[in-house]
């Protein structure tokens, strides 16, 4: 077996029923988000909840729709920690520097 053929050999995935259940879950979370917006929560609390729900939705899409749950764990280790690390770097370096520049602007 060639390496490419070995690489693309079929692996187990979710059933149609599971994928539909995931889709229903995603739609339900979307409506929950809209409901929270309708209830006009305090902005910081609402942002925290919305980001948590969005991360949950992203994880569901990646795990089931994008098959990451069924790939080798080494692929998950290649992709996810690197992305999180880069995002952390952006928050650590971008925000303080941006606010410093803001304080330096002429008034």
């Amino acid at each position: 077996m060639s390496s490419e053929a070995h690489a693309v050999e079929e692996h187990a995935g979710a059933t149609v029923g599971t994928n539909i259940a995931i889709w229903v879950g995603l739609v339900a979370i979307t409506f929950l988000e809209v409901f929270l917006a309708y209830k006009a929560l305090e902005p910081r609390l609402m942002l925290t909840i919305l980001v948590m729900l969005s991360v949950a939705k992203a994880a569901m899409i990646m795990a089931w729709f994008m098959h990451l749950k069924f790939e080798k764990f080494s692929l998950v280790l290649l992709l996810i920690p690197a992305t999180i690390f880069c995002l952390c770097m952006m928050f650590i370096f971008f925000y303080p520097e941006a606010f410093r520049l803001l304080q330096m602007r002429p008034h």
Binding site: A7, H11, A37, M46, F94
Partner: protein, 210 residues
Amino acid sequence: MHDVKTETVMDSAWSGGKSPFAIGSKKLGMWLFIVSDTLTFSVLLITYSYCRLTNPDWPRPFPIFPAIAFSTTMTIVLLASSLTMVLAVMASQRNDRKKTVMWMVATMVGGLLFTGLHLTEWMNMIFKEGFSITANPEGSPLFGAVFFGITGLHMTHVMIGVIYLGIVAVGYGRGKFSAEDVEVNGLYWHFVDLVWMFVFPMIYLMSVKY
């Protein structure tokens, strides 16, 4: 002649004889592209949040009805197109070319519908409410720049995705592309959906006009 130790290394996943991630090069390439594009959208969303935090007069231009109801419909359409893409990938793995193409066309219809709804919203904001890249009727003028910048880049991704789907659907229907090509196409489409899962709450739901 190899000794036992060398043979053990050659048999390992990282020896070069196998794919260490057990996926094809196209799929790995798409995953790496997705990581880089994730960072692009992250920078834009971080910039958006910075602009918003530093401008106390940030506008809240989206009433629950019709703006949020409209963008919720767009979200459901995009999610539905993701489900049809999943069904296309599953059909391609069964080697069912007819159903694969059918589900891919359904995904394209979802993408076009999303774009049509989005453009309708844009036209309404630009021509009826007076929003533009440099100005808007209330609050910080930066709003237009980041709103049209982020949603415009996302809409561009959707349009590219529709074209990509069309090319792969035709190629797969004619037997030129494999099931792996459909799966890689699916990864791109789901990523476009995934980005919207952050754009929708951060840009629309956090800017509801009460």
